[in-house]
Each structure stands twice: as structure tokens, then as C-alpha cells.
Symmetry: C2
Subunit: 621 residues, 2 copies
């Protein structure tokens, strides 16, 4: 870009010759009317330029894959916006010179239809770009071309900060799609040294990838608008990196936080970066190390326009669903991406808890061996109960160490990170009775008190069960509890969407979760249909499941309680069904109590107006 | 106070004559050595003054109840701090005059042992007070005395902002203890007009109380350091009032927030006001309208020194325990007061839920009438199950409307405010498996979905129970569940204290809860002994209770599950006992799953070092 006579065509053609990328001169795309006007020395109006800019934008889009060199004056920011509209990669090169200098050059080009007299009008409207490479028109065109080539070769399309397990796997995945990458890992003497460099050395697929330990150099290595994926620990580390990045970034650059960040932090970061016109996408990424490498499930939320800029890369690395569609899709504005990822993990907590309960019942109540349990789980996995978590559980049950079950050697103290706890706090705050994920979280907390457990077991002994159950009943109980778990998870997301004004396509979200992520399963395929319903519990598929499997669930829970086996997640499924199908609950007593001691008032069943009643309950002594 | 010759003794004696409050001249408390020094014209050093100031402070303390007028030069701020140390009420009066004027007056007092030559040394060290009433020494002593009297009569000892139900009841309670009160309620045209004024008019006990709608005037009406109790809605309203108060207050003034504020907000407010040397006490107050009026349970947390300044008033209005001790006591620093009040409410949630479940089982499973249930509850209330909540439940069950049970007319949709939800979020954040309070909160949330419940009930119908239980079993189940509920509540407080570095006396906290508050009960008297234990569950009283009552609890829960009656809080008690007495839980499977998909590592039962192990679980395909 630049005014007429700045040398755009010369430099553009040289660039094309040396790269093999086709060259286009924007002047060739003017209408006859525009050309006549210019020949007559009449300056073009913005209106004259609309169709012209559109055709150039179309040209760029058509050539986006192989690339194109386009010489165009592009004098105003609005023209440049129209030219760049919808493009994923664009680099502006601005050839800059004074009026006097260009005017002299123009006088030496008599055959050009542009009248030198119009030059002043060009300088009048010229708005210099803030995001271009700038060259002095007095430099030799060959030297300018050489510099551009050097810059171009150096620039990466995408940057990743943080090379932990997930960061590394995603880097390999992205590089495998032909994306030019820059990788940055901080330098911590003696602990983290040359992490990016060594990672690249050990992975031939990364031979085009650049390694950095210096953040400004990393940022400068990225094409604008820059796209930077953060894969650092959620919490203070994310804020610290953002603070370091802020002075280095330009308007319209995009930061994607791919970690399990707390959604309220994401909301705050979006607001804060918005002041600098830097876009922030909170993207949940699920699939663990293997998923990140081979195709994760990705849940990006934030500014929809910015998402379009990274959509291509994110979708190309995501897992594919059964129809070949990527398991990645824009969730909604704000922190919606991180919120749904948090709930994904909470559903995962309860799915894992259910499996551990079923395993516990088989092991302790049915006295089954680890191998026998694996055999039953394999049968289940052939049915609609198929899931990734069931698959890996079978692998685990079959893993031996010196011919003994490795599982039996593992300490029964559960760990947890942020997402489970945050989900429960969100459920409490938003008014959602998410009993199953809560019971799964609390089960981990209870397990942590191992010493007290051992002492209490010694004092209290073990109960003896008089009731028994079959593996078929257990299978039905498990199937029903899983459906309730998924319903509760989606209820939490639906309530959050209402509260925070997100517009989420729930069926699409379920589809995104059908592959790549930890909770992928045959049930999730079915959920895509169910979750669109207003009242999930009343969906025919759920009602049928309850009608067919409730007795087995009841039997499983009561038998376990009588045997002293804690099955809190199975119980919570049962309690949810009971509570949600009780027409007249005992909450009238609690409302009366609240009115008694706190004058909180109550409503009456015989007054549908919602009027608040208060009673002086206390009898005179 | 003031330099020699300012007229302290004259004004002090006049004040004493007119009020009947004894007068003391500080000069009379000097040691012989000091007097000799002064006669010799040698200025006293700070060291000379230490014993003297101590004896004056002692004098003031001894006379605090009836009051004392003390004339003392008190020239430096440090002297005044020593004089005021540990006093609850003090008012400085500063008689101010120029060196020239005082010097002239000194020359007219030949018999005074003070040499006029020393006057300059006094002016040299004089630091004028910022918190005194100031009078010009040129005014007539009689006029000065008159003004002081007028000021004294006008000043209140204690201020209350916000005259809702709780604010009004506390005002009546405090005024009844002879405390001079100022009351402020905001002016909202057409909604809140002359609230304080009308309240005082209608309550003769408040005839000495002052009413305000103007905040600066309210603040000026209070003796310093000012003590202001906020009784406004938790949340933004508290922040708004603090913002308005900040410019009006002086160093060392004390704000007490008596509402149910979120503890993290209290922590923030303490930090913020600390910058202005304004002290903030977060005080939980429980007892509802009646408790506030007749004696609530009060849980103040914050700066211990500031608490001493309001201790007298708070303890005088609190309920008394069985030994006559006030149910009010300093909890610990920071937001500890509001935290324990939050947990108090969460225990209350679960206590209410338990009663509603027992009522539900009697009503639906045992087909008992409201009157029959009341009769059983009255029997229970004669036993160790006695509690305030059980008492009011009996009143509620007996309340009739046109000879029909009023309870049956109440809509079964439970409401909730902040504390229940915050407690669950805190439990999730702090790693405490507080299942019972959580189930109580979720039961209210579940009840809110009345429409879905009615529809689901119509589709799914009602289960028929084949098992039945006796009211004696129910009584045992209820008793055991209550103990577990209290244990869980105290566990949450203990974990918070560890996390936030609070030093809380748990037995004292239980004692504070034995009267005045909503969860007062015979069990709470017993808890005072139990909660001191490190592992609550292993306390002999709890172990015995489990051994004797676990079968009844199991029977109650399983029978209810088979009848389709939701008894989530009873269940959570049972689950807690099961989980906490399971030596080998199924958490080993979850640890294996986490290691499988996320490389989160696990520990082994045969390696006590806590070493982290990782396994490549996946079999080659």
C-alpha cells in the first residue's frame, strides 16, 4: 500500500517473482467509469471505491490458501478494513515517502493514466497504518523486497506460551496441520532451561517451528493480528503472562487461554484487555495428553469476531465427530467457554465416581475379582453404556504388576483440582441442585481423611449385608444414574446461560463432546437430542429410562446402604428423581419455620397470586 | 487538658458541682520528687511522668462506671494514649490559649508551685489533640462548663444505622440497658420517611434516643471513639453506607456490621478501612426478631482491641447461657465472626431439613396426622432432642386456621438467602465434605421447580413402600443425623480457621450458641465438650451414638428410598458415617483414571513416602 508512485507495483512484482506467489495490481480491478474519472483528473469518492474494494477482498479470499501479493493504495483505515474483511492472514506493507519526492517520481511516469495533480488529494486522505511493515520509498525496490522476504520467512501464524504436557501435545498437533508455530517457555534457572528449543530438537515435525525464551522476541515473531495460545497453570500464572504480554501486543491481537481457568477470572480478563483492543478467548480444551495430540474437544468462548480469526486452526486440530465435523465450536460470549469446560469436568467427576461405586459394589458386595469386574465392564461397553471412561477403566482393571492387579496397590486418596470445586460453588450460587457432581467432589474430600477412616473402621467394624443385587440391576442403576448426571450438568449450564446472558446451542455443545473429550460416549450422542428440551427430566427418553431402571437403582442404593458401602453418586441420582417427582414436598414446614423466627413470609397453595403471608405463630405463654 | 494556667481546675470543679461526678486534679497525683523538681523550676521528663500517668489511668478505670472529671495537662499524644488505655468512654476537653495570655494569668497565681518560667517548656511539647472539644480560655469558666454540659447531654454512646426488623429490635434491647442511642434510617421519599423518629415516638423506652435522617448529624451526635452498628442489607448497601461514612468518621472510630455479610466482603472491608485507622468488626447476630429484642447470640470478629471497646454493650444485650454468661464472645481476627455466623445458618438449614424429612416420613410413610406428629415431637422435646427449632415446629404443627392445619396450606417452595449458598461454596473451596448442609440447600432448590415436579409426579406416579419403620427408629435416626450435622459444621469452621489463620475456641463458640440463636439446643450444650476433639467423629459420645443409632438411621433411609420419599439430609448423615468408616475406599480407581488420561500420578499403599507414581496404562492396539 501507499499513494500512487510509491512503487507498490514494482516491489509487488519483484516479490511475486521471488516467491512464486501471484501478483495482482488493484488498479486493474477498477471499473471503466472509475478509470475515466481518474483520467479526467476527478478524484474518486468513497462510493466509487465500494465495489472495487469488494472485488479485491473477494480476490484475496479466493487466493488465501496459496497466497497473493496485491498492490493497492489502501489509503484509509476503512478501506483496509474492507479489504481484510474475513481474511485469516494478512500482512500490510506500507511504502512511505514525502509529497515532494513522490511528486518528482510521478512526473517521470508520463504514460500512467494517473494525473500528478491528484497526488495532493491522496495525501489529504492518507491515514498511515499502525499494523504494517513500513519502508522508505527511497530505498532500492530490490532491497525492500529482500527485507519483506526475510520478515515473511520469519513470521509464524500462531504462538503457544507454556510447554507443559498439554502445551507440547497441542504444539505437535498444530504443527502437524502445516501451521507455522512459535513456541515460548519461560526460563527458570536449573528447572526450565531451553524447554522449547529441546522440544523442537526432539520432534522432527517441528523443524519449521521457532523456539523462544525471550517474550518480546516471541511476540515479534508472530504475524499480525497475533494469535497466542496460553497453556500455563490456571490462576496467578495466567495474569502474570498477560501483564507481560500487554505492552508487547498490538490492537486486534488475540489471546486464547486454553487452560482450565476459573470462569470469573476469564470474565475479568476479557473486560480488562478489551480496554486495549486486545481480544481474549477463554477456550476449554478436553482430551488429556492424548486428546491434545490427536484431536481434543475444544470449547471457545468470547468475542465471536475474534473467534473467526482462529476458527480455522482450532477446528483443524480438533477431534472429528461421527459425521466428520470438528468437535470444536463457538460457545457464546464472555466466559461461556470456560464455564462449559468446568461443567464438562464436573460431569466427568460424577462419571468417574459412578464407575468407582459400581466397582466398589462388585468388589465388596458381590465379592467379584478384578478380572471378573473387567469382564462385566467389557460386556457393558458393547452396549449403549459405551464410553471413553468405561474403556480406560477396563484397561486399568486388566493392568497387572507381577501378576497382581496394579489397581489394588493404589492408595485410595482422591485428588482434585479447581474445576470440581468451582462447579459446586457455581451450582450453589446459581440455585442448581447439582447433587451428583457435589457428591463426587465430597467423596474425594472424604477419601482424603484416610487416617480417621482407618481408626473409625477399627472401632465401628463392618456391616453385614442381608440383601444382594445382580450385575444386571447394577448395570441398569449405572445407566440411569449417568443420564441424571448429564441432565444435572446441562441444567447447570442452562441456568448459567440465563443468568449471564449467553446464547448457547446445547445440542451443538453435546455434539462437541461426542469425541475428543474425556466424557465422550454413546450417551453423549443421545444427549444431543435430549438437551434441547425445556424440562430435561420430562424428555421421553429420560422418562422411559426412569420407568425401566428406577427399581434397579433403588435396589442398588438400599442394598449398598445396608452393607455400609458408600454410593453417594448413585444415591444422588435416586434422590433427584424422588425430589423432582414429588408433587407435595415437606418444604411447607421449612417455609413456616422461616416465617416463625425470621418473618420471612410464605405463599399459600390456595392463592396463586404469589402473595406473601405472615403469621404470628407463637402462642402466648 | 491544657497547659498550666489554662483553667482546667476551675472548669473541672464547676463541671463536678453541676453533675455530681467527682473531680480529680492530676497535679495531686504527682510524686514528691516530681513536685520538688517543678518547684525548683526543672521541667519534668517523660520518664518522670510514667508512674504519674499510670496512676491517673488507674483512677479513671476505677471510676469508669460512675464517671470522673479529671484535670490533667496531657500535653502529648503519647500521654493521652497512656491516660486513655483500656477505657471504654473518654471525652477530651482542651482549653486553648496563646502563650502571652496564659503567661499573664500565671503571674496572677503566686501561690501555685508552678513557676511561670516553665510555661515555655510546656508550649514546646504541646501537641494539640484532634479528637477533643476545644474552648478558648478567654471565655468565662461558667460559659465553658455550660457548653460542655450541653455537649455531654447531646452525645450518644452508640449509633445504629438501618431500622429494619433486626435493627429496631436491637435498638430496643440496647436502649433497655441504659445506653444512650442515636438511630439513623435513610430517607426514601414515599417509602422511608421519618422512620427513626416514628419508631422512637411509638416506643417510650426510647425517650432518650435521638433520631436522624441526616448522616453527618447522626455521626456528630456520637461520643468518640464512635461506635456504629450497621443493620442494613448485606452486599452493596453495606459498601454504600461505608462510603458515605468514611469522610465523616475519625481515627479509631468503630463500625460493627451486624448483618449476614459474605465473609470475603468483610475481609475486604477490614483491609480497606484499616487504611483510615477505622476499625471494622464483622459480627454475626442470630436469634431473629425475638432474639434481637430479648437477647441474641453474638459472634463478633475482627480487631481484638476494638472489640474491647464495644464488648460491654454487646455482652449486655446478648442472651445468657445456663450459667448466666453472655452468649457473646470475641471469635477471632479478620472475617471469622461472619464466617461462623454463616456456618451457624448452614447448620440451621440442615436442622430444619431434618425436621422436614422426619415430618415427611411421619406424614407419608406412617400416615400420621399433623396433631399426632405434634404429640410425638412434644415427647421428643422432653428428651435430649430438645431444641428451639423443635419447639417452634410443635407450635407450627398446632396452628389451626378454621380448625384446619395452617401448615397444610403453605406452598412447598423453599426460599433461601446468601448464607446457605455461601457455606456450600466455602465447603467446596476449602475441601470439606459438608454433605448435610449441601443437601438442605439443594432440597430448597429442588422444591423451587414445582411445575416440573407436578408434571413428573403425574407421569411417574408414586412408589409403594413394603418396609415400615417406627417413630422410635425415626427418633434415633434424627438424633444421630443431628450430631453428624453439628460435626460437619464445626469441621468446616476448623478447616477455615486453619486456612485463614484464625484462633477460635470451638468450645466457647458452641457455648455462645447455647442460647439466643436459632440453633440453640441441648445438643449444643453437649457439643461444647465434643468440638474440642481433634477428630470429632472419633469422640466417644459420637462413636456411642453411631453404635446405638446407626441401624435405625439405615432403616429409616432405606425405607424412605423404597417409598420414594426424599430424605437427603438423613442420607447424608448415613453416607458420612459410611465413608468415614471405610478403611479401603474405591478412590484407588479414580486415581488410576486420573493418571490414565491426565498423567496426574498416584500414590501406592506399599510406599508410605508419598512418592508420585505414573503408569502407561494404555495397551498398544
Amino acid at each position: 500500500m501507499g499513494v500512487s508512485g510509491s512503487g507498490k507495483t514494482t516491489v509487488g512484482k519483484l516479490l511475486s517473482e521471488q516467491t512464486g506467489i501471484p501478483f495482482f495490481d488493484a488498479d486493474d480491478f477498477h471499473s471503466t467509469a472509475n478509470i475515466e474519472k481518474m483520467k479526467a483528473g476527478i478524484p474518486l469518492t468513497d462510493e466509487d471505491r465500494v465495489a472495487w474494494l469488494q472485488s479485491l477482498n473477494q480476490l484475496a479470499k479466493e487466493n488465501e490458501t496459496r497466497g497473493a501479493v496485491i498492490a493497492c493504495s489502501a489509503l484509509k483505515e476503512t478501506y483496509r478494513q474492507q479489504l481484510a474483511d474475513g481474511l485469516h492472514h494478512i500482512q500490510w506493507v506500507y511504502l512511505k515517502g514525502s509529497y515532494q519526492l513522490i511528486h518528482e517520481r510521478m512526473l517521470q511516469r508520463p504514460h500512467h493514466y494517473f494525473s500528478a495533480a491528484m497526488l495532493q488529494s491522496q495525501f489529504d486522505i492518507l491515514e498511515e497504518p499502525s499494523n504494517a511493515w513500513v519502508f522508505d520509498v527511497q530505498e532500492e525496490p530490490n532491497r525492500i523486497t529482500e527485507s519483506i522476504l526475510k520478515y515473511l520467512i520469519m513470521l509464524s501464524d500462531f504462538g503457544i506460551i507454556g510447554l507443559g504436557v498439554m502445551g507440547k501435545s497441542l504444539a505437535l498437533n498444530i504443527a502437524g496441520k502445516g501451521v507455522r508455530l512459535s513456541l515460548y517457555n519461560r526460563y527458570v534457572k536449573g528447572q526450565e532451561e531451553k524447554v522449547a528449543e529441546q522440544f523442537i530438537t526432539h520432534n522432527p515435525i517441528l523443524k519449521e517451528t521457532k523456539a523462544f525464551e525471550d517474550l518480546p522476541a516471541f511476540v515479534q515473531s508472530l504475524a499480525m493480528p497475533r494469535k497466542i495460545l496460553l497453556m500455563v497453570n490456571a490462576g496467578a500464572a495466567v495474569d502474570a503472562v498477560i501483564e507481560e504480554l500487554k505492552p508487547l501486543l498490538s490492537k486486534n491481537d488475540i489471546i486464547i487461554d486454553g487452560g482450565n481457568s476459573f470462569y470469573k477470572d476469564t470474565e475479568r480478563r476479557i473486560q480488562e484487555l478489551n480496554q486495549y483492543d486486545i481480544h481474549f478467548i477463554g477456550a476449554g480444551i478436553s482430551g488429556g495428553e492424548e486428546g491434545a495430540l490427536k484431536g481434543p474437544s475444544i470449547m471457545p468462548g468470547g468475542d465471536a469476531i475474534s473467534y473467526e480469526q482462529v476458527q480455522f486452526i482450532l477446528e483443524s486440530i480438533a477431534a472429528k465427530d461421527k459425521n466428520g465435523k470438528p468437535c470444536c465450536g463457538y460457545i457464546s460470549n464472555g466466559s461461556s467457554g470456560h464455564f462449559v469446560k468446568m461443567v464438562h469436568n464436573a460431569i466427568e467427576y460424577a462419571e468417574m465416581q459412578l464407575l468407582s461405586e459400581v466397582y466398589d459394589v462388585m468388589r465388596n458386595e458381590l465379592q467379584m475379582s478384578t478380572d471378573a469386574i473387567a469382564t462385566v465392564f467389557k460386556q457393558w461397553n458393547q452396549t449403549e453404556l459405551n464410553s471413553y471412561l468405561l474403556e480406560i477403566t477396563i484397561d486399568i482393571l486388566q493392568t497387572k504388576e507381577n501378576n497382581e492387579s496394579l489397581l489394588d496397590k493404589i492408595l485410595d486418596v482422591g485428588s482434585s483440582k479447581g474445576t470440581g470445586s468451582w462447579s459446586v460453588a457455581a451450582a450453589a450460587e446459581l440455585g442448581v441442585p447439582a447433587g451428583m457432581m457435589t457428591s463426587a467432589l465430597y467423596a474425594r474430600y472424604l477419601s482424603a481423611q484416610k487416617q480417621t477412616r482407618v481408626k473409625a473402621a477399627a472401632v465401628l467394624g463392618t456391616s453385614q449385608s442381608s440383601v444382594s443385587i445382580s450385575t444386571e440391576q447394577l448395570q441398569q442403576a449405572y445407566a440411569l444414574a449417568r443420564i441424571i448426571n448429564h441432565a444435572q450438568g446441562f441444567e447447570l449450564i442452562k441456568t448459567a446461560a440465563l443468568t449471564y446472558q449467553w446464547s448457547i446451542n446445547y445440542s451443538e455443545l453435546a455434539r462437541i463432546w461426542t469425541n475428543g473429550c474425556i466424557i465422550r460416549s454413546t450417551l453423549m450422542e443421545q444427549m444431543a437430542a435430549i438437551v434441547a428440551a425445556d424440562e430435561l427430566l420430562l424428555h421421553p427418553l429420560i422418562i422411559t429410562s426412569i420407568q425401566q431402571q428406577l427399581d434397579s437403582l433403588t435396589q442398588t442404593v438400599t442394598a449398598s446402604l445396608q452393607s455400609g458401602i458408600a454410593v453417594p453418586a448413585l444415591y444422588e441420582a435416586l434422590n433427584y428423581i424422588h425430589a423432582m417427582s414429588t408433587e407435595q414436598s415437606a418444604m411447607n414446614l421449612i417455609q413456616a419455620q422461616r416465617d416463625y423466627f425470621g418473618a420471612h413470609t410464605y405463599q399459600r397453595i390456595d392463592d396463586a397470586s404469589g402473595k406473601a403471608y405472615h403469621t404470628k405463630w407463637k402462642k402466648a405463654p
